[in-house]
Amino acid sequence: MNAMGLLNYWFVIVLMMIGFYVLIAQGNLVKKIVGLNIFQTSVFVFYISMGKITGATAPILDSDWSVYSNPLPHVLILTAIVVGVATTALGLSLTVRIHEAYGSVEEDEINEMDE
């Protein structure tokens, strides 16, 4: 069980790192934001995973159930999702503006233009 659980976490970590890699390695400004999204979403999965109790149900109180998964991570992640979308929106609008100003969304081309 523990190995399986660990595997679950490790998958999440691999996901995070894929997102992180896209975020820092890619030169395309849009793709960076995509990477950020993946990175953040995997962090959300990490949070939700730790709130899970095997055999429990969603934390909506009901007389049929007695074990519920932890609601607090859910709340935190709801907030985090919203923050994520806010960042995405701002990042994308910056990208649009950069494209207007430079005619490109490739980091290296832009840097060349400002040299």
Partner: protein
């Protein structure tokens, strides 16, 4: 499944496809959330990650073009950083409380117990997520609302008004960076 989708995102160069696959990624994680009993989160992730984000992404792409420049496939410096970070995380998770067990610290902490046992009579809400969200941690949610509002102010500041001529060195140092 999620890993595969994520890897596809890395490899793809057509950004439209990337946007769509990211949407799929979000949906898949929403499914995953449901499996983990986080229905509210799943709902939101589906609406935001798969919905709003994808729409925004597509909107952006229609403005900035959708073909990514081809480049060197693997960049070693970022890869090193990422690997180190990942290994650090994995090292840390070796001692993480076992997945899915009820005896883990977070479930036993007074906060969680309070939420699950007291919320029905303190707030009268069967959905504990809602009561925590809106009441126990209502202040966080106000912050969250403000974040969204901030995003609006930011987007308006950036995107409304006339387009500026692309110009370099309207002012500032002529020597560049």
């Amino acid at each position: 499944m999620l890993v595969i989708t994520a890897l596809i995102v890395v490899r793809l160069e057509n950004l439209f496809t990337v946007a769509m696959v990211t949407g799929i990624y979000s949906l898949l994680s929403a499914v995953f959330f449901t499996l983990l009993d986080a229905v509210d989160v799943a709902f939101t992730e589906a609406a935001v990650g798969a919905g709003i984000s994808t729409v925004l992404m597509l909107g952006t792409l229609s403005l900035v073009g959708h073909q990514q420049k081809k480049r060197k496939t693997v960049q070693w410096f970022p890869l090193t950083i990422v690997t180190i970070t990942g290994l650090l995380l994995m090292y840390g998770t070796l001692d993480i409380p076992p997945f899915g067990e009820g005896g883990n610290p977070i479930h036993g902490h007074a906060t969680t117990v309070h939420y699950l046992e007291e919320s029905s009579h303190e707030t009268g809400m069967p959905n504990v997520v809602t009561s925590v969200l809106a009441s126990y941690r209502g202040y966080d949610t106000m912050g969250e609302t403000t974040v969204i509002f901030t995003a609006m102010v930011g987007v308006l500041l950036l995107m409304s008004g006339r387009k500026r001529k692309p110009s370099k060195d309207v002012e500032g140092d002529p020597s560049g960076r």
